[in-house]
């Protein structure tokens, strides 16, 4: 039998919810650890070895010099890097003020005049701001089924397969009444699907926790929400919450169109 792929699971700055989602796959946990040779998983294991890897899974964004050094070193010894969750994919909620230049003031506000010197911190950025990334599994946290399906694919050398469509698709499948029709600000039309439209299914609007959908029509969502009486800053604030760096970059391209 061929050697099992060597896998590592790492956590940067985040809530560890994506790694927790893996540990929450109680019915599949033994298979996950059997399917790969898990050589490093600090959150669950104390005998970890740092060596060449076939695949590394990263939870969390990069917010310190130590983490930047770590991902740079990890890239040199890893065949496939997989970002888990909107923190590692897009910077996460901690990147919602990205490019607004508020970070130095906010840092000072929290830590005062004499901050700790243990690391050099900076504003949250996604992993691909520092190293090339092979695959992205978004979500806050990731969806367990999407992970299990893609974990099996990656172990077999297949690329990640995730939908490019927005939440609305799954929401329609669940036959929910559209919240936008009730004038509730729902981010379903522009948010990546994969969550099974959880929030609209309990009558609550999508908050965008899977980040921007590739096929979402951001310009149209902006115009629709403006027609419904929501203000421009209100809409931007909502989209920034989980969309992070990917939203800000998308936003730049549509900014002029929307302003018209």
């Amino acid at each position: 039998m061929a050697e099992k792929p060597k896998a590592g699971f790492y956590n940067l700055s985040g809530c560890s919810g994506c790694l927790l989602t893996i540990l929450n796959c109680e019915d599949n946990l033994l298979d996950i650890f059997n399917g790969a040779n898990v050589v490093s998983f600090l959150m669950a294991n104390s005998a970890n070895i740092e060596k060449d890897l076939d695949v590394a899974f990263l939870d969390g964004s990069v917010t310190t010099d130590e983490q930047e050094e770590f991902v740079t070193e990890l890239r040199t010894r890893t065949k496939k890097i997989v970002c888990l969750g909107v923190c590692s994919c897009y910077g996460g909620v901690q990147a919602m003020e990205y490019e607004k230049n508020t970070w130095p003031t906010r840092f000072k506000k929290v830590y005062g005049a004499k901050p700790p010197t243990i690391t050099k911190p900076f504003e949250s950025r996604p992993v691909d701001a520092f190293i090339p990334v092979d695959y992205y599994l978004p979500g806050c946290p990731i969806d367990a089924n999407q992970f299990l399906y893609n974990f099996a694919r990656i172990l077999r050398g297949l690329p990640v397969d995730i939908p490019r469509t927005p939440v609305c698709l799954e929401c329609k499948w669940r036959e929910n009444e559209c919240l936008l029709l009730k004038n509730i600000m729902c981010l379903g039309p522009v948010t990546a699907t994969g969550c099974n439209a959880r929030c609209p299914s309990v009558n609550l609007p999508c908050v965008g926790c899977f980040g921007p959908a590739d096929e979402g029509n951001l310009t149209s969502e902006f115009n629709l929400l403006k027609e419904k009486g929501f203000s421009f800053p209100e809409i931007e604030r909502k989209l920034r919450m989980f969309g992070g760096v990917k939203f800000v970059n998308k936003f730049k391209t549509i900014w002029k169109k929307v302003k018209k």
């Binding site: 940067l12 540990l23 019915d27 998983f41 309990v202 909502k238």
Partner: protein, 435 residues
């Protein structure tokens, strides 16, 4: 100068390391370093609406995400004068029990137990301890299932909102939770027996002050508006700053807390020490069988306290579900989301997270947040952790000097001490007061 360094603490959430400096055969200094990156949550909630706060703050930490959501909801409802209905309280209690079962079984079985049995992780224990590992997974799955049903996801489910719930689970789904609880009761009892019969090392023992929330009724519970202290006082949560006294230290991105300039302990061990006499039924019997005076000195008994809490929750769930299902139609009406009136106010709210008392504080002005503070259990426990590490290191060093064994077991014991507090390091970093 000799240094014992544990560079990357394993089987805890987040990043921490321990340095013990030894000179002239004496422990000179103990540092619990937290290099976890800051995320500045308390600045991220400024300018947001209360409902957006409840979307954001659970992301401070996944394993206590329900507690963060619940603490924020309690603070915001107190600030905005929204009264929690009985129906909403019952559903929130059920979701909170779900988190307690999940988090306590994750910690006790998957993170702590491997040390006691001599394994690097829980999966490796399967060959010899399959029934225990499978039992752990059944209990953990049950806790997650409850959160999925009530909040709409295992982690960061959005259904619990300020003012109520977006939707109530079906009667059938609730009764299914009840039936699962009845089926899992033997698992919870066997778990207590397993942890009762473990060998608990004693080298770190040192008496501590304990704090936890005082439940509103005579029963055991996980919320309240005042804090009980083991020295006998009761302090309203409005005085949370006087209870915690946060300060910045150089060797850690997490702040530190103390009370009367001394370390104190929050979490399952504190709750059992202060509220154990309030337990009923099988949980009360288990408490009587397990409790000893070592519980005020030895943090490793947190593991045993946590599994008694699992039994408590599993035993209470059928009663709680019956109560919800009996008045189901009224629960559906009464748990609908209430809108705040004026949208201006400030207040603190607190819940017991699995790992201890969690305070959230918000100032709201015309519907937007203008000030925030969150004080996290792990931040409160860090001084006590450092004290217990120091005591263990001194005692083990002393023992090593009088035997040929050396200090080889020291690392494991020091790690077990930190792990016993069930630290949540993501939580502990960066959470602070804004003026």
């Amino acid at each position: 100068m000799k240094e014992i360094r544990i560079p990357a603490l394993a089987r805890v959430e987040g990043h921490g390391n321990i340095t013990v400096q030894i000179a002239k055969n004496k422990v000179q200094n103990v540092l619990l370093n937290i290099p976890e990156g800051p995320r500045l949550f308390e600045t991220l909630v400024i300018g947001k609406t209360p409902s957006e706060v409840v979307n954001i703050v659970p992301r401070i930490c996944a394993i206590c995400s329900v507690s963060h959501r619940y603490a924020a909801i309690r603070a915001l409802e107190r600030a905005l004068d929204i009264k929690e209905t009985k129906a909403t309280n019952a559903l929130r209690t059920l979701m909170h029990f779900g988190e307690m079962i999940e988090s306590n079984s994750l910690h006790a079985y998957l993170l702590a137990l491997p040390d006691f049995l001599g394994y690097p992780n829980a999966v490796a224990m399967v060959d010899k301890y399959a029934p225990a590992v499978l039992r752990a997974l059944r209990l953990k799955k049950f806790g997650n299932h409850i959160m999925e049903v009530i909040t709409a996801r295992w982690t960061h489910g959005e259904n619990a909102a300020v003012g109520g719930f977006g939707a109530v689970p079906s009667k059938q789904n609730l009764l299914d939770i009840k039936n699962q609880a009845l089926t899992l009761l033997p698992d919870a009892e066997e778990t207590v027996e397993l942890f009762r019969n473990l060998h608990y090392p004693t080298s770190m023992e040192e008496g501590m002050t304990f704090m936890c929330l005082k439940p509103p009724t005579e029963k055991y519970g996980f919320v309240g508006n005042s804090v009980l202290i083991s020295s006998g006082q009761e302090v309203p949560i409005e005085d949370y700053l006087k209870l915690t006294n946060e300060r910045v230290v150089d060797h850690s991105n997490a702040k530190r807390c103390s009370y009367n300039d001394k370390p104190f302990v929050v979490g399952a061990l504190a709750r059992m020490n202060l509220l154990g006499e309030r337990l009923h039924g099988k949980a009360a019997e288990a408490f009587k069988r397990c409790y000893s005076l070592s519980w005020i000195r030895n943090p490793l008994y947190t593991n045993l306290a946590q599994v008694i809490e699992i039994l408590f929750c599993v035993e209470q769930i059928p009663i709680l579900v019956d109560q919800i299902v009996k008045g189901y139609d009224k629960v559906v009406t009464d748990s609908k989301i209430q809108k705040p009136g004026g949208g201006t106010g400030k207040n603190v709210g607190a819940v017991e997270a699995p790992r201890g008392t969690l305070y959230h504080y918000y100032e709201v002005n015309r519907g937007l947040i203008t000030g925030a503070n969150m004080i996290i259990p792990t931040t409160q426990n860090l001084d006590a952790m450092e004290t217990h590490i120091r005591v263990a290191a001194e005692n083990l060093l002393h023992a090593a000097l009088s035997s040929a064994q050396g200090t080889k077991d020291m690392n494991l014991i020091l790690e077990m001490v930190v792990r016993s507090y069930d630290p949540c390091i993501s939580c502990s970093v960066h959470v602070v007061n804004l003026d």
